[in-house]
């Protein structure tokens, strides 16, 4: 019989072993990429196989399954190039740490979280380009998060420990004004890392939120409510003003994640279907980042998104998959974001108020900035000076995996994904109407 405490270590160990053994094929990038993909698939198989031995965290096990999927897709979506080798290896390291954090119930998880944050800060210090200069605010944010985790370990009982833990969550699951680290990581980190951490960090943040939100004082929760509302509008407004794809996607996802913060702060609990919501946002942003990577692979890292047009006629497979991802990103059914968003609005015990109208307006804004971006790339006149090459097999596989998982998240009954998703049929006539006289 397998010991329950050992399983998280084993789960974390598989990708870490893959990362450590990658030196064996380091000189051959194609083999290294395949090697990394194999270990991420093995992690998924192990997570599914050993799920019975894992203690179910408050947010359920869905994210434990989604992390290897996102890692696998992120790896598959990268072109084979020796410059990408460190990012592939680091993707496995991040995956190992992430699985360990999500499945551990003790100090080990918090130490893993600190390691992850410090590693991210170091990576941000090392990786910057003239296009994306160094961001001390971003590096500082992850340093602060690591410090908060350390304080929460030694602080003892709430409220200090819970507030510190919440602050670390606010950096991982981005909340204005602590979102700088998230934006910086998505724009600066190399290769496959941005498309993976866009799910990893918010998942860890949600994990902390699920256990920490109940013990947070009312005044802090009230402040979080205001910050979340501001973040929803701020993210949507910033996304509407962006022309660069990574910034647009970063701010867009910030706006959506802020909605989750608002509901969590209002209810002092993780809302039903929060995992589907977080998972869907993470996978959608990951998919769109990979779609942008496809363009960068063909036209260079510093390509201007405004100069790309007419891909629908020349890259039909890419056009179809990008359109499906865009539909998902705009919150249209039958994808996971729609299901998650409906879960937040309908299944949470949050009364109808003007705040909900603000959230719905931010949701509407996603239709504008995502549609604007996708329309720019796919439609318009075909440029004769551009060479059009449709998706390679690995790129196609990466995007198809993400679209299929997003469809599954949207169409499967919520109960399929775990106990947290058991929606409470919200009480009509239970006196929770803020407006009711």
């Amino acid at each position: 019989m397998m010991e329950g405490a050992l399983v998280p270590l084993l789960l974390a160990g598989i990708p870490l072993l893959g990362a450590a053994s990658s030196v064996l094929v380091w000189s051959r990038p194609e083999h290294l990429k395949n090697w990394s993909v194999i270990f991420s698939v093995a992690s998924l198989a192990a997570a599914i196989g050993w799920s019975g031995y894992l203690a179910t965290p408050p947010e359920g096990l869905l994210l434990v399954y989604l992390l290897p999927v996102a890692a696998c897709a992120s790896l598959l979506g990268q072109p084979v190039h020796q410059n990408h080798r460190p990012s592939w290896m680091l993707t496995l390291v991040f995956l190992g740490l992430g699985l360990g954090i999500l499945t551990s119930q003790n100090l080990l998880g918090q130490i893993g979280q600190m390691l992850l944050l410090i590693l991210t800060a170091v990576l941000l210090y090392r990786h910057h380009t003239p296009l994306w200069p160094i961001s001390w605010l971003g590096i500082g944010a992850y340093g602060l998060a690591a410090m908060c985790v350390a304080v929460s370990i030694v602080a003892g009982p709430p409220p200090l420990s819970s507030v510190m833990s919440l602050l670390a969550c606010a950096i991982l699951l981005p909340l204005v004004p602590f979102h700088e680290g998230y934006i910086t990581a998505l724009t600066r980190l190399p290769g496959s890392l941005p498309s993976f951490i866009v799910l990893l960090f918010p998942s860890i943040g949600l994990h902390g939120l699920a256990s920490g939100m109940q013990t947070v004082p009312d005044s802090v929760a009230w402040t979080v409510t205001l910050l979340a509302l501001a973040g929803t509008l701020y993210g949507a407004g910033k996304a509407l003003a962006q022309s660069r794809a990574r910034l647009l996607l970063s701010f867009g996802s910030l706006s959506l994640y802020s909605m989750l913060w608002w509901v969590a702060a209002m209810t002092h609990a993780t809302p039903p279907r929060a995992t589907i919501f977080v998972g869907a946002i993470g996978l959608i942003t990951s998919g769109l980042l990979l779609a942008w990577q496809v363009i960068r692979t063909r036209y260079g890292d510093d390509v201007d998104p405004q100069s790309i047009s007419g891909l629908a006629a020349t890259m039909p497979r890419y056009a179809v998959l990008l359109s499906l991802l865009a539909l998902a990103a705009m919150g249209l059914p039958p994808f996971g974001l729609f299901a998650g968003f409906m879960g937040l609005l309908l299944a949470s015990a949050v009364p109808f108020s003007l705040s909900i109208l603000i959230m719905v307006t931010a949701w509407l804004a996603a239709s504008w900035y995502i549609m604007g971006m996708v329309q720019q790339w796919l439609f318009g006149a075909k440029r004769h000076d551009l060479r059009y090459t449709d998706l390679l097999h690995s790129e196609l596989a990466a995007l198809m995996i993400l679209v299929a998982v997003l469809l599954a998240l949207g169409m499967m009954p919520a109960t399929f994904f775990g106990p947290d998703a058991m929606a409470t049929a919200t009480g009509a006539f239970t006196g929770l109407f803020a407006w009711n006289k």
Partner: protein, 566 residues
């Protein structure tokens, strides 16, 4: 009973047949794919018969008690309204698809358009047969996206811009719709139609969104849902997307104007018991519908492009339909949308032929330079007078005196009679403009027209209303909820009558070469209004300016927050 699911699924099969397969069999597949969608039409007729004789069909693939925990609650509730709509949609879908196979032959985007027509028909059928508000909303949103995809041509900048605006405006409506759903669920704890209607009717909830402002639960919910309906049915002021979708292929227009745009009217009818609880929403619908009908028709008259003319005609008709809903005449609105759908589909499909002929033959369509008959015909005039004024008066007296229907207390009856009068008189006025006005045949045609319209309306009033809403008390309750203050109702009827008669007199005299004296200020106003309506009230420019202001503000905000955010 589950065989009824084939009706929405068969058009989906059509789309799949068109899409899947090698390019060299494209035309053959397109022709084969017409069979499933045709079979869907036959299935819809059978469904209508079954529903009419055996009652509604309900199939659910979810547990209604935990609707909120299901992202995609698939269920079908097919009652008489749904069945009628299914017949209309599948009939129009079949005709348009069959037409498109020839129309789009060898077009670069043939497969895409044909598949989208099949898929749109599938979405529309699912929408009208949905068993809960959530499923209706899911397909409602898909329709927004499909309209965007259908309305654009990949490489044409103006089309893309129009399609983008179409989508964004429709999403504004979707957001209001979603807010309505969330509020309904928050207040009543369900999105299942029957349970929702029962709880809304059985619970008295008053909301106070702002100090001093009180609004009932059903009013708040229906107002939000109505905004959603306004966007799809192109109601003023969110009508601008419809004329902007002009570049789509003609069959797509036929589908849009005959099927998709009716969504608003269908929504109100689907939720009639909920709308019937809110007089305020019905009055708002009446005002919005009336404004849209007047402005849409006025803008139609001032356009110089055939597709724009038809587009604004549709806007006017949709306004008319929403106005009927606002008056509580829900069944009349459904009758109207069916008649308008069939008419507009015919016109648009013929429009394509005219364009093709015009391309082949530069002198087509032929301009008829013959002047209209200038002489005054006593026979025609007398027949027109008798049919437009005397016979309606007779009907009024018979209704009031013989049938003992208290007209002064029944706005619903007056509304029906008024519509009979205005429609028949409009048709008769058109007949008087024929060149052979002095013929006895025209007079006979006038009488026949009047009889035809009266019988059609009687059918609409009696048979169709009884078919859709078998309970007369329910129909009466809608009229009662929509009833305006008596003085206001009388004023509106009086004003409409005076305006109509004055307009007819003016047009009749102008058509027969008579000089009509007008004060100078009216002539000046007429020219100013003409310019205003020709430019579509400058609504496009206003929206563009608003968009530019928002973009500029966002850019300024982005620049000011750049140091912080980077």
């Amino acid at each position: 009973m589950s065989a009824v699911l084939l009706v929405p699924l068969l058009p989906l099969l059509t789309a799949l047949i068109v899409v899947a397969g090698p390019d060299n069999t494209r035309y053959q597949r397109a022709k084969i794919a017409a069979w499933p969608i045709g079979a869907a039409f036959c299935g819809a007729i059978v469904t209508l018969y079954v529903v009419a004789t055996q009652g509604p069909i309900t199939i659910r693939f979810y547990d209604p008690s935990s609707l909120a925990s299901i992202g995609f609650p698939i269920g079908f509730h097919i009652d008489r309204l749904s069945a009628v709509m299914m017949v209309l949609i599948s009939a129009v879908g079949t005709i348009i698809y069959t037409y498109s196979v020839g129309y789009m032959y060898q077009d670069q985007h043939e497969s895409r358009y044909l598949a989208l027509i099949g898929f749109t028909t599938f979405v529309l059928l699912c929408m009208v047969s949905s068993s809960n508000l959530m499923m209706l909303f899911i397909f409602w949103q898909l329709l927004s996206y499909l309209l965007y995809v259908l309305a654009h041509n990949h490489a044409h900048a103006a089309t893309l811009e129009g399609a983008f605006r179409t989508f964004t405006l429709l999403r504004v409506g979707d957001v209001a719709f979603l807010s309505g759903i969330v509020l309904a669920h928050s207040l009543y704890g369900t999105l299942e139609y029957q349970a929702l209607f029962a709880r809304a009717a059985g619970t008295s909830i008053v909301l106070s969104p702002l100090p001093g402002i009180e609004i009932s639960g059903p009013t708040a919910v229906t107002l939000l849902l109505f905004i959603g309906g306004m966007s799809k049915s192109a109601q003023f002021p969110i009508h601008v997307w419809l004329p902007r979708s002009l570049y789509a292929p003609t069959p797509v227009h036929a589908l849009l104007h005959a099927g998709i745009i009716n969504a608003g009217g269908f929504l109100i009818n689907r939720l009639a018991p909920l709308f019937g609880l809110s007089s305020t929403t019905l009055h708002v619908a009446f005002v919005v519908g009336t404004m849209t009908a007047i402005l849409g028709a006025s803008m139609m008259l001032a356009q110089n492009d055939i597709k724009k003319t038809l587009g604004f005609s549709t806007i006017g008709q949709m306004g008319y339909m929403i106005m009927e809903c606002g008056l509580g005449a829900f069944s009349l609105a459904v009758f109207h949308l069916i008649a308008h759908g069939l008419f507009k589909a015919t016109v648009f499909l013929n429009c394509g032929n005219v364009i093709h002929k015009a391309r082949q033959e530069p002198h087509f369509p032929h301009v008829d330079h013959q002047e209209e008959e200038g002489s005054f015909s006593r026979l025609t005039w007398s027949t027109g007078f008798v049919t437009t004024l005397f016979i309606p008066l007779l009907i009024l007296l018979v209704t009031h005196g013989v049938l003992h229907i208290p007209l002064l207390e029944s706005q619903g009856t007056v509304i029906f009679l008024f519509f009979i009068w205005i429609t028949s008189s409009q048709a008769i006025l058109t007949l008087t403009r024929l060149r052979a006005v002095a013929s006895w045949k025209v007079s006979a045609a006038m009488l026949l027209t009047l009889l035809f319209i009266v019988f059609v309306y009687l059918f609409a009033v009696e048979s169709f209303t009884a078919f859709l809403y078998p309970d007369p008390q329910e129909v009466a309750s809608y009229f009662k909820a929509a009833a305006l203050a008596n003085w206001l109702f009388d004023l509106i009827i009086l004003l409409a009558t005076v305006l109509t008669i004055a307009s007819w007199s003016y047009l009749y005299m102008r058509a027969h070469g008579r000089t009509v004296w007008m004060p100078a200020w009216i002539e000046g106003l007429r020219i100013r209004l003409y310019v205003l309506f020709m430019n579509r009230l400058f609504a496009d420019e206003i929206y563009q300016t608003l968009g530019r202001i928002v973009t500029r503000l966002l850019d300024r905000f982005d620049k000011s927050a750049q140091g912080w955010s980077r």
